[in-house]
Symmetry: D2
Subunit: 383 residues, 4 copies
């Protein structure tokens, strides 16, 4: 490691996403032969006490209580944005203008306008920028992409994508920030629908051209959270309005001629993180469910569907880890993402997914919202 150039990382936010990003920064060098050795330099958070505790636990050398200070620091070359979507644009643009490389959690922004500003800033900047659609780095999904590129399922006819969770089924679950439009932009749509739109576009290599959509908020009011909190937040007696969708369903057309069906919900009781995608092509099919993330199902169209255990050395990312059959977990998708990002930074290549990819997803989400508001009418995704 001593021979490699080290590169300083500053991270903003230390909740769920900050914890998993930290684990990736900490681990990536032990498994991948990297061109740059990341140094976990600074963690930024609003509360000094909490940020220091988080930095100690997660392994960051220093803290800042204002992300603006983090962005200015000379020992930070990479800014990793793990905050809610409402601050993405401001932080990312400032970091890019300060000459930093930026990796930003998804969705890229809460609005198309913000996302466009971020893409413009990225285009004008010297640093690399990436939006963290980590599911692209599930080995099984990367393998699905490889199969499609190799033409193994032929011309794609159907995309069938669902992201099913159930963590707000209880009407007494409180009104956390993810249920407030001003913070989160949208509900299931932006939080998890964004992932399946990105995955569908990534695996197929096609864009969503247009959609017909329907959204629903099953529980209109919830107890106020005692603070803007995570999943474990406890409610209070006062209630507030849920301002985002609980579920979003849309059907549409892809640029290559496929028809597509999408569904994102937090009300699929018993489904914990069922991020699923199935593609049917003229020569075969592929199917994936994140609840069994080490498996990819592949058919060449006869009576069979092959369960591929995606733990073979020649599968994407897998060779760096363990022998066959020794599966990976959720966190490793982030390790792979950081690895790819560091390689892009080192070579100057455009990371995938870029901010432009993030904007493309944002435009689809925006078309979904317009269609849902306009009688589900088929609505083109704008360019």
């Amino acid at each position: 490691m001593s021979d490699r150039t080290t590169i300083g990382v500053g991270m903003v936010g230390y909740a769920f996403m900050g914890r998993v990003h930290s684990q990736a920064w900490r681990s990536v060098g032990a498994f991948f032969d990297l061109p740059l050795a990341p140094r976990m330099a600074v963690l930024a958070g609003r509360s000094k006490e909490r940020t220091e505790a988080a930095a100690a636990q997660l392994g960051w050398a220093d803290v800042e209580t204002d992300w603006r200070e983090l962005v200015k620091r000379d020992d930070v070359q990479i800014v990793d944005i793990c905050t809610p979507g409402d601050s993405h644009a401001e932080i990312a643009i400032a970091a890019l203008q300060a000459g930093k490389h930026v990796i930003c959690e998804k969705p890229l922004a809460n609005t198309v306008a913000e996302a466009e500003a971020m893409v413009a800033a990225a285009a004008a900047a010297q640093g690399r920028s990436m939006v963290a659609f980590n599911y692209r780095r599930v080995p099984a999904i990367a393998l699905a992409r490889r199969f499609v590129e190799e033409g193994r399922i032929g011309e794609i006819r159907h995309v069938r994508a669902q992201y099913l969770q159930d963590w707000i089924v209880d009407p007494e679950f409180p009104l956390v920030w993810r249920l407030q439009k001003d913070k989160a932009g949208s509900g299931a749509l932006g939080d998890i629908g964004a992932h399946i739109v990105d995955a569908a576009q990534f695996i197929t290599g096609q864009n969503v051209l247009g959609v017909s959509a329907l959204t629903e908020t099953f529980i209109k009011e919830r107890p106020l959270a005692t603070e803007s909190a995570g999943l474990g937040a406890t409610g209070s007696a006062a209630r507030g309005e849920v301002t985002v969708d609980d579920a979003a369903l849309f059907i549409g057309r892809m640029s290559g001629g496929a028809v597509a069906s999408f569904e994102a919900t937090r009300f699929a009781n018993g489904r914990k993180n069922a991020m699923r995608i199935e593609l049917n092509g003229s020569l075969g099919s592929l199917a994936f469910d994140f609840e069994a993330m080490n498996e990819l199902w592949f058919s060449t169209g006869g009576g069979g569907f092959e369960r591929i255990l995606v733990t073979e050395p020649d599968h994407p990312y897998v060779g760096a880890w363990w022998p066959p059959g020794h599966g990976l977990g959720y966190e490793h998708t982030f390790t792979h993402e950081i690895k790819d990002f560091l390689e892009a930074v080192a070579t100057g290549a455009d990371p995938s997914p870029s901010f432009a990819d993030g904007l493309r997803v944002q435009r689809v989400l925006e078309a979904v919202e317009r269609s849902a508001a306009d009688g589900s009418r088929y609505t083109n995704v704008e360019d």
Copy 2:
């Protein structure tokens, strides 16, 4: 059997559906304690030679080459209609007017107008009438209905239904009658989409209120079939236009507040008969896939999904068959249907699904077609 009154059955058509209905008529009395003993009296088909051969193989005592003759016969009290959809209305109405009981293959008719006429005829007739949505008689689906009725999954939030087949993926598969609008009414929509609409309405006890739809015909022209033939038909050099949908996708709302997603396609490579439905409720979830037809998946919303092997004596229909773990097959759904129909005939009760249920499905299909033609706009199902 000698103590029971026998009842004469006449069947029209002897292709795929006729074969499976025959097996049900032949077997039902050996397993269920019936109020009426069916006698397989007459089979009707156009070609005398072929009809006689079919009758000999399938166990029918006599033949007619004109269904009008069959409908008149005194030894026929039940008319079983196994023809393509374009002749359902005419045969069913004639049979009802002749005082017969009628069981008719699905979809009830090719148009709403025909279906309405059939419902009117049924209302005016003395005989019982049933539309053969056989999937209601899959024990797992009947068990799902029982669970919903018992409130075990609570208030239903999501219906997610798919019917995936792949038998016309090959562009050289010929233009059989199921691909011609004048014979079949529609394509995947009426053939298999009808089943999932009926199953969704049956299990939830709710109606589809409105839909937003999109249909597609991937292969626009196919070789002409050498004759109006079954799945094994061979093509010829001449080509004709495919006039039905290859796939139909629609999203919508149910009368109880659930949102719903439907997809019917014959282009899901590797999916042979994946008639799937998942319900998510406030207390739990249910999931089914006909490719594993003896299983029902049930969750009460924690981290678990229970695979219920629906072969226990107290499961619907199962007690009449074998010990636990000795599964049933496709044909038994028809045996159950015939059993329920005979009981309704004996008691004078209204069979389920009635012609009215069939009309309700037809109205949903019609709304799907209108929405698809009108920019996927949300379209109410008319009453």
Copy 3:
């Protein structure tokens, strides 16, 4: 059907096995193009009243209350033995000596000596004889045999077979005939262990050479059954000794060099009819579980295992039935068995499995019992 020669069938016994055999005799001609048309001539049972009721329900034309009378009748050319194992030898030998063809339920007999006498009678007779190991006729198992014959999994290294049921887990389940050594010969070993030994030998084409075994009776005493009854028998206050094994485990060697593991139990709580077999070969593997009887799992040794839905037209037996994805059930294994038996009768070919095959299984069971009684010592299967 009229062109074919009819052949009269007499069946002895009408309990569980008699019901499923009747359904096969009744149905086989409607699906398979048979050289002989079976006529369900006579059913034999001890109670006249019950036998007549069974005959009426199951479709037999006449009854006898003594199987000796049935065996003598001129309108009976085939004798189908569906009684407990203690009467197999006597009935089968008498039928063969009377010039009849014989199909006999498994296990062939309760002792090796009886089975040897049956094989000798079969060798001396003009009639064909078959032992009804119906699992050979599961399409997925027949397909597994085909794959092995074609060399697709190479040289077989491992056989791993289990037959798991749970119907006597409850200590209050009564002492039915299947739990009495004088009637049933043995417990799980002969009832279900016989099936996996036959399946292993059939699929691999190899014999079990020797075994090391261990048996156990978990519940030593049970309520006496009110009569020698089926699964639904109710118990009484008096108790009797369970004289058969509840579970049998054995490991051994096959004639082709594979090692093998077998387990038969009625105490695998939650497993209803999990008749499972897995083969690992030098080139690939095969796996099957009857609880999902329409599936065969196949690997060529990489990271994948293919779930083959055994419902394609070119799969064994399947072409006679329904389109792909429309699965078969337990009863169809008997329909296939009867079909193969009728073909063997018509052509004079030796049916498979023959009485000699049944004897071979019997010798394995006998070696298991000797090993279990002798400190699990490795025990050769005698020839």
Copy 4:
């Protein structure tokens, strides 16, 4: 972290096991609230160059080329032994005598005599000692143990354990150290059979009392490895004898009355790391397969088997990680192991599994070898 006492760790060996242990030492503090903060002080290996490279990559501060030096160092309080089994006893005893805590890879030793010496040394020492049967720390296995302790499956009747791999199916795979008796002690038996014996004893809380066993070496000679190498080793023209088993099968009895079946093999083509265990009890059953490591299957004996996604906050170890449905991987079993070990070191409690637990497994393996050598005769496990 600064408030906690740090504790120095020295690790011997840096191959597969060393890599995964390093990741656990590096990560554990970020997720668990530990009483002691581990410091990755020293890595020992024979080649200075390679050890330094490994230390740099894996995050160890210093290196030694002789483990005896490592054991003496004052900055090392914990010795982590990741070498082949032939050196375990010597290193562990020296470390314990030097006052260190010891965590040692499994199997504890290559012989019972060595294991006994280690247990004696552990008893006499002040340090804590643990054998690294990491599968005890799979959340699903820990949950299975909890269910058994709570009596949820009742009295255990059956244990059915398999460990299936396929990495030496190819006869040209070279003669690596794991195929040599002097280095590895035994083959599949000690390497993976040890894991299922330990898991069976752990989950049931019962000991294996006696066994009847059979072992086999399918490929007797293999190309010599170019050096004592890992899985990727390439062969040479010269060949050597394989001196360990390729597969071991054994059946036996547990101290609580259950019968048990075990199979360990590296010739199960297509099975990559199928470490499977199923328990059947008087009230229910449990089943696990490591290839789907985040799932535990649970039945209460009706027709259902529940797939529990072991990612809920109240499942063992899981609360420290991610939200439900965001699965863990192979490496986390080691993180959990290290966490439990550090807690035992801090409190002075006996770690689980202790060296005594490791010895108990060793005695079972030794009984297996004696039985296999003695005609599979039932052989008591000695105490």
